[in-house]
């Protein structure tokens, strides 16, 4: 019994070690295939960027102005090969998470003219802590550093953490709101610090925390019946290093007579209509719900003003992925997303927003534009094709050739480029070396992993073809599962072959039926890893011919495992002689 326990222990130990090392090696195989595939994709401009122009959210008098030289637009852009490194290497993610403004920290850093500010949530006290170090001029004109530390709770702000301040329980992370950009027509630069607004999930209220005025404003309590799960407040974003998304204002040519002396030296100059501006003092603050919906909260009253839009669901290899609502992607299913709310000067009137989303596999960007009511105006996504640019005629670069296929970029990355099909097949085969059990588990769990962490999975390949199949929407489960089994057919075939080899070897070695079945089951489930651990663990027992049945039998067993015959065969024993006295 003890021997059996130790044998099991050794088998599991060897199995895990083999599985870990094999999975790591296979990970790198997939990584380099992806680098190749996405690198080729990067060469296709239409595969890595999506544009909506004109945006459609500006007033008609601006959009249709005949003087408009370049229309307003939303652009989404990604560097696919850089994305491969960033998403698949957890060490990059680890450090990205730790830098200021990182996505997992309720913290933002800003550098004002004369100091630094730090803001974070202290779980122990339940207070939001504000630390600042500023330069201060003393009476005798010397500069000295002044340190300020303030504690904010639902009931107020104080220099000491007291119970009277109350406590926050789970405040939603506040994203840094944009500073005002310098605008060329006004020729000035403004930096404005946003007053943080947060939402506490347990208290179900919004709070505006003004550390300058040392006051906390509470919004009304949100009705419990309203299904509301905010995860980001401010300018919701994720994966800033993976996706660039920006709003371009329309450009109007300045007539020569209107130019100043400096400008007259240049040719065409375009004037921006300043719209890309979301002032800290502006009307609404957007926040993102975990279902992918974007709501707006009134900055003054801290009440929910309505829906602003949603994260558009990008395409994936097997069609659109699963979503809570049609065309809406959950934040965890996306590698990256950003929104750009737009307001127009001088009064900062809200016009609408653009939203961009980078798919889980990093192969597709979808851009959507919403009006001020939150209604979808336009949507586009990346496709296979390219723009070829040539010549600069003094006015700009001329696009000389445009070639676009109907193939979605999520498919084009695998098949659209020379050499890509081979790399795709190689990647597919590497995924199949993982073993049927892990592949099937990947099929079922593909949807549960957050997008970027799925890329770093060692054992479950949730961002593989089988994972994409598992996430496929709009198909019945049985067809989907059958399709999945076909996808992992090489894995199943390899496992069956290896299991057959193990069975033959185990029979020869004389393993008992139970042990044999366990090993066969293990190899069928884990494929190559199971086979390697069998080779590491299985005893090399010597075999000799059984005197009873003539077949090979193990020397370490008391009876023949084939015929059950014992070692002593009296009719074949040499009578011999012995001289013994006991």
């Amino acid at each position: 019994m003890k021997d059996l326990t130790y044998t099991l222990l050794k088998s599991f130990a060897a199995g895990f070690a083999a599985l870990l090392l094999l999975s790591t090696a296979l990970f790198w195989g997939r990584f380099y295939c992806d680098r190749y595939l996405y690198g080729r994709m990067a060469q296709q401009s239409t595969c890595r960027s999506a544009t909506i122009s004109p945006s459609g959210i500006l007033p008609a008098e601006i959009e249709k102005d005949p003087n408009v030289d370049i229309a307003s637009s939303f652009h989404g852009y990604t560097e696919p090969d850089a994305a491969v490194i960033r998403t698949r290497l957890g060490i990059v993610d680890y450090f990205e998470r730790r830098v200021p403004e990182a996505r997992f920290m309720l913290s933002f850093y800003e550098y004002v003219n004369n100091g630094k500010t730090d803001l974070y949530f202290d779980k122990k006290s339940g207070l939001i802590v504000y630390q600042s170090e500023r330069a201060k001029k003393t009476n005798d004109n010397k500069t000295e550093r002044e340190e300020i530390k303030l504690y904010a709770g639902p009931e107020g702000i104080s220099e000491k953490p007291t119970k009277e301040l109350g406590r926050f329980y789970s405040p939603v992370r506040m994203q840094k709101e944009p500073i005002i950009y310098h605008s060329r027509d006004e020729m000035q630069t403004e930096y404005v610090r946003a007053v943080p607004i947060t939402y506490d999930k347990k208290l179900r209220r919004f709070f505006k925390i003004d550390f300058d005025k040392r006051e906390v404003k509470k919004g009304p309590e949100i009705d419990k019946n309203i299904n509301f799960r905010p995860i980001q407040i401010g300018q919701p974003r994720k994966g800033e290093y993976l996706l660039s998304f920006w709003w371009s204002e329309p450009m109007i040519e300045i007539k020569r007579e209107d130019k100043n002396e400096a400008e007259k030296r240049y040719g065409k100059i375009q004037k921006r209509i300043v719209t890309r501006f979301y002032p800290p003092g502006g009307q609404y603050v957007p926040f993102l719900d975990e279902r992918g919906l974007i709501f707006l909260v009134d900055r003054a009253t801290l009440e929910i003003a309505g829906e602003g839009g949603y994260l558009p669901a990008p395409m994936s290899y097997f069609g659109s992925g699963k979503a809570a609502r049609p065309n809406v992607a959950r934040p965890k299913d996306l590698l990256a997303f950003m929104i750009e709310p737009v307001a127009i000067k001088p009064d900062g009137k809200y016009l609408g927003m653009g939203a961009a989303a980078l798919s889980r596999d990093g192969a597709s960007i979808t851009v959507a534009v919403f009006d001020k009511e939150g209604k979808l105006l336009k949507m586009t996504n990346t496709v296979d094709g390219y723009f070829s640019y040539r010549d600069y005629d003094g006015d700009g670069i001329i696009e000389s050739e445009r070639y676009i296929t109907q193939m979605d970029s999520s498919k084009a990355v695998f098949w659209g480029q020379p050499g890509s099909p081979l790399a795709t097949v190689l990647r597919y085969l590497i995924e199949n070396l993982q073993g049927p059990a892990l592949n099937i588990a990947s099929f079922f769990t593909a949807d549960s992993f957050e997008a970027s962490s799925g890329h770093r999975a060692l054992f479950l390949v949730t961002n593989s073809f089988i994972g994409m199949k598992g996430r496929q929407a709009g198909v019945s489960f049985s067809w989907k599962f059958f399709g999945g089994l076909l996808l992992i057919a090489p894995s199943i075939i390899l496992s069956v072959l290896l299991a057959w080899s193990v069975k033959r070897d185990a029979l020869t070695k004389g393993l008992c039926k139970k042990e044999r079945l366990c090993w066969i089951a293990g190899v069928l489930c884990f494929g190559l890893a199971g086979y390697i651990s069998y080779r590491l663990c299985c005893k090399q027992a010597g075999l000799i011919n059984c005197r009873n049945c003539g077949m090979s039998r193990r020397v370490d067993m008391d009876v023949c495992h084939r015929c059950g015959g014992s070692w002593l065969v009296p009719e074949l024993e040499d009578p011999g002689w012995r001289v013994r006295d006991n």
Binding site: G542, L543, I544, V555, D556, M557, D558, W567, D574, P575, G576, W577, R578, V579, R580, D581, N582
Partner: protein, 300 residues
């Protein structure tokens, strides 16, 4: 079992499909000096290594000082002294370092006695073990084994490589020191003179089996070599069991018989030999007869 220092039951050992030991039964009582004999490569060292837990049997069990060899506790190991074949010690260590380690790891250590032995053997402490001569290594090995005052001393061909004088000294010392307190010695060798001098009981391994396991005098009494001369040609079949060896040459036949008794003598008498003469055998002669490959098998 408790009266026996060593018990081996149905021990079988295979190496790469080749049978080395095939069903050995052995009991060595406490206080006995047991000489285990056999030709080179017959399995003597294998049995000892299995006893000490250095190797594992293919089948069967062995017990040493009442404990299963596969699960020897440190307490039991502390009561055993072992001189390995070839005097395997850590050759890259200095003598002093090796002694220090053995001293610290042993449960019992007779420092006075050990120092006396070292002085007697004149062993250089600062030399590396690999630089010692074979004799010196044997002496060191023995000193290390004896310093622990073992209840059971296992000597696996301890005089290998020693000259005659050194061998004699070694054996006398071993026996003299240990037999005083009734300790047990298992002594394996293929040098019969040494065994004959000191052993109480003899075991002989031949053909993967233990064919002899009895006292020395008993062995001499039970194995007899007879020269028979017949009138005409010697018969092919003697109709006898337990024939160790049989050689015929014309009218003359030489036969070695195990467990000679009256019954067998009566059968021989019926053969009608002109003369039947017993040839006295030394232990060496017996050993050669027992371990020589069979030339004729007895058919019953």
């Amino acid at each position: 079992m408790s009266d026996d220092a060593i018990v081996i039951e149905s021990l079988v050992k295979y190496y790469d499909g080749r049978c080395v030991i095939d069903g050995v039964y052995l009991k060595i009582p406490r206080g006995c000096i047991y000489g285990l004999l056999g030709r080179n490569g017959i399995g003597k060292t294998t049995i000892i290594r299995i006893l000490l837990g250095l190797d594992f049997p293919t089948r069967g069990k062995s017990y040493i000082l009442g404990q299963d060899s596969r699960q020897l506790t440190n307490t039991i190991k502390g009561r055993i002294g072992y001189v390995a074949e070839g005097h395997n010690m850590i050759s890259s260590y200095k003598v002093s370092r090796l002694i220090n380690i053995c001293k610290k790891l042993s449960m019992r250590w007779n420092d006075k006695f050990f120092n006396h032995l070292i002085e007697m053997f004149r062993l250089p402490m600062e030399r590396y073990v690999r630089e010692l001569s074979t004799g010196m290594r044997a002496e060191l090995n023995l000193a290390l084994a004896m310093a622990t005052e073992p209840e059971l001393l296992i000597l696996d061909d301890p005089t290998l490589g020693l000259d005659t004088v050194a061998r004699r000294q070694f054996l006398e010392l071993a026996v003299d020191l240990l037999q005083r307190d009734g300790r047990t010695i298992l002594f394996s060798s293929h040098i019969l003179g040494d065994v004959e001098r000191i052993a109480d009981r003899i075991g002989i391994l031949a053909g993967c089996k233990l064919v002899v396991d009895c006292g020395l005098e008993e062995l001499k009494r039970r194995i007899k070599k007879l020269r028979l001369i017949f009138e005409k040609k010697a018969p092919a079949n003697l109709h006898l069991t337990e024939i160790v060896n049989q050689q015929s040459s014309g009218r003359e036949m030489t036969v070695t018989i195990a467990n000679m008794d009256e019954q067998k003598q009566a059968v021989i008498n019926t053969l009608g030999a002109e003369s039947c003469e017993e040839i006295p055998m030394s232990l060496e002669d017996i050993f050669i007869e027992c371990t020589r490959p069979k030339q004729k098998q007895a058919v019953f």
